[in-house]
């Protein structure tokens, strides 16, 4: 090999390396912190689907990483910090319990952009985002009241946090429009994820006379129990039709992909800034699974309702909203409850014959 070739080879190598480095530096590194395993087929799974969507959308312009099964205890701050230190410039932390740790890490890394799901604290470089899941619950309430023969709905709750309470209330407000005497039975399982326990709760609800099951827990266990018993049910987080082809009426699914795409795009363009996003059916962060196993008139009602919510002509928590004591709840948002009232909801509406645990 002569010297010229050697030099050319060296130059090639150098430029190659240089290019490689340049590409690596241009890549936006995006990190995700998950509360569960990516295979939970529920909450974490949907975030993972969102991550895969940005990978598909942006290809090699970005590089994504995730940490799964990060408990909300003492380990979460370290996990988030590790992602920041590994050069991730945009980090999504996808569980409520990561709120304070995310805030702490965000203060230490002012140049890194943070996105925290379902919380209420923000900072210059920390956005928060969540879904208006209650919009979907409202549609479910209408369907449930139409479809229930016994007039008793069964609701499996995880924890009595506002997100879940507002879901129960939205369901009930809607159901009462169809059947003013509708009853709801609520069982709290105190976990987001324990298929066996969720199945047991579904059985207990069915045994106590409910014939439509709704859940605010993550696994398809309840759907499958309802399917075995010939009852009807709604899916949660993901489309669970596979677990109840003759059972699922619809599902409130979390569709994080479009939001993730939008935020990654903003980060790439340099237009990212801290925001509070609360998106629903309109923005497609909340998406209804196909309406199945119901007569056409019910289906039409559901679709019309969905369209009205998207158009803004129908507000699920339209005033007057009556509390359990029969008194009207203060209407802070003009003609409907304001976002603060929904995000901090800690009361049951009239017609729910139960009390919030620990209250």
């Amino acid at each position: 090999m002569n010297r010229k070739a050697l030099a050319a080879a060296a130059l090639l190598l150098a430029t190659g390396l240089g290019l490689g480095a340049a590409v690596a530096a241009d890549k936006l590194k995006v990190g995700f912190v998950y509360i569960g395993p990516v295979g939970d087929f529920g909450w974490t799974y949907q975030h993972e689907v969102g991550r895969q969507m940005i990978v598909k959308e942006f290809g090699d312009k970005i590089e994504t990483t995730y940490l799964e099964n990060v408990s909300e205890g003492p380990d979460s701050e370290r996990s988030i910090e590790q992602l920041a230190r590994a050069g991730n410039q945009l980090i999504f932390t996808t569980s409520f319990g990561y709120m304070d740790p995310t805030l702490k890490v965000a203060k230490r890394h002012p140049k890194v952009m943070f996105e925290h799901a379902t919380g209420f604290k923000r900072d210059k470089n920390m956005s928060s985002y969540s879904g208006r899941f209650f919009e979907g619950r409202y549609i479910q309430g209408l369907i449930a009241a139409k479809m229930s023969k016994k007039g008793v709905l069964g609701y499996i709750g995880s924890f009595p946090i506002p997100e879940v309470i507002s879901g129960i209330n939205a369901t009930m407000v809607a159901a009462q429009k169809i059947n003013p005497d509708i009853k709801i039975k609520i069982i709290w399982v105190n976990t987001w994820f324990d298929p066996g326990k969720e199945a047991d709760a579904a059985k207990a609800l069915l045994d106590q006379g409910a014939d439509v099951i709704m859940q605010h827990t993550d696994s398809p266990a309840a759907m499958q129990v309802a399917s075995e018993r010939g009852a009807l049910a709604f899916g949660q987080d993901s489309d669970m039709i596979k677990f109840g082809p003759k059972t699922q009426l619809t599902a409130v699914t979390n569709n994080w992909g479009p939001y993730y795409v939008e935020r990654v795009k903003a980060a790439l363009d340099g237009t990212w800034k801290s925001e509070d996003t609360w998106a629903g059916l309109k923005e497609k962060m909340v998406v209804m699974a196909p309406y199945t196993n119901m007569p056409d008139d019910v289906k039409k009602m559901a679709m019309d309702t969905e369209a009205a919510i998207i158009a803004g002509t129908l507000k699920p928590f339209k005033c007057p909203i009556m509390g359990q004591d029969g008194k009207e709840v203060e209407c802070k948002g003009g003609d409907a409850l304001d976002p603060g009232q929904v995000l901090g909801m800690n009361f049951y509406v009239k017609g729910i014959d139960d009390k919030i645990p620990g209250k």
Partner: protein, 363 residues
């Protein structure tokens, strides 16, 4: 052909030194094969697990933060195990300590209580942990109930107690019903050693405990007593040592240390009481105690080592996209190898040919 263990006349010092090296060597070989199977570069992977976390100040800090509770609990447990009593309920004592200390933090939250709050919390945590550990100890000396099982049962009870408190009476009124207390006041928080870092006073306390345990075991009559009762209970009886008293004492110490670790963890890295404050520290500490061969310095090293695998596991997820499950498998295999190799300190393995009645002539 049959594998047979033979007790050595005395501990083998050479193997004691070589065994961890052999164990790590075996782990590296096994994991390399596994990494190749899943299509990852084994050298890079091992580098991420073992070396990278040791190369920057931040990771070292995290190592200490993670190891501190493990070491604290394991030191206490080692005293029990040396005395041949089996406290496996440190997880429960950890939680009860956290709960008791948090009680004060919750009560004083938002008041102008002074700097006495944190020391009082730590004291409460230690006392509560000790009292909780004394339940199985008392059941053992008074009724002869198995301390292994009673202490294990009490773990679940402690877990449910914590769960009840943070979902009910102690729930943060401004916390949107999430199961957590309000964030502790600064006077109820374990101070950081450096501004902007995560290293807190707990790491120093853990070190002090290691030294104290080494002194106790090596230089005091009590320490001697613990070791004698454990190693030769009959001789201890002749020597006039009360084994019952020792059961109570070692359980109380280990409970106090676990409780202290609990409240430090809550008042330090977490900052409030919530479910899931322990990712199994009480159980992991049992492994740490054995890895450290029930020796204070050994436990310090073992605690740091186990912390290394946790942090390395995270970095492996980040840097090489190695699934968390691989890290679990890695930890499991590593523990098996270390425990197995340590067995060779006390025993010698012999291969014998079959068909020889082994039982006769014994005893």
């Amino acid at each position: 052909m049959q594998l047979v263990l033979e007790k050595r006349a005395e501990r083998s010092t050479i193997i004691a030194l070589v065994s961890p090296v052999i164990a790590i060597g075996l782990t590296i070989v096994t994991m390399s094969i596994l990494f190749v199977i899943i299509g990852k570069n084994p050298i890079a992977a091992l580098n991420v697990y073992f070396i990278t976390p040791l190369t920057d100040a931040y990771s070292l800090q995290e190592l200490a933060v993670k190891a501190a509770p493990l070491v604290m609990i394991a030191i206490g447990l080692s005293l029990c195990y040396l005395a041949n009593v089996w406290n496996i309920g440190a997880e429960g004592q950890f939680l009860v300590g956290a709960v008791a200390g948090s009680w004060l933090a919750v009560k004083t939250n938002g008041t102008d209580a002074g700097v006495w709050v944190l020391p009082a919390m730590l004291l409460l945590g230690a006392i509560a942990g000790a009292l909780y550990a004394l339940i199985p100890a008392f059941c053992k000396v008074r009724f002869g109930a198995s301390e292994i099982l009673v202490s294990l049962m009490l773990v679940y009870v402690a877990d449910l107690l914590l769960d009840y408190l943070v979902r009910g009476p102690w729930r943060d009124p401004a916390g949107f019903n999430f199961p957590t207390t309000a964030e502790f006041d600064p006077v109820a928080t374990v101070p950081l050693l450096f501004e902007g870092g995560r290293l807190h006073l707990g790491a120093v306390i853990a070190l002090v405990i290691v030294v104290a345990a080494a002194v106790l075991l090596g230089r005091t009559i009590k320490g001697f007593e613990i070791r004698v009762v454990g190693a030769a209970p009959r001789a201890a009886r002749f020597g006039g040592f009360s084994s019952n008293q020792l059961v109570l004492l070692t359980f109380a110490i280990s409970g106090a240390l676990a409780g202290l670790a609990g409240i430090i963890e809550v008042a330090g890295p977490v900052g409030h009481l919530q479910p899931g404050i322990s990712p199994g520290y009480g159980f992991t500490a049992i492994i740490v105690a054995f890895l450290g061969r029930l020796n204070p310095v050994g436990i310090l090293i073992a605690g740091l080592f186990l912390a290394l695998t946790f942090i390395g596991g995270e970095q492996a997820q980040i840097a090489m996209k190695i699934p968390l499950d691989i890290t679990k498998v890695f930890q499991g295999i590593l523990l098996f190898y270390v425990l197995a190799c340590d067995s060779l300190i006390l025993y010698r393995i012999r291969l014998i040919m079959p068909q020889r009645k082994a039982a006769d002539g014994a005893a």
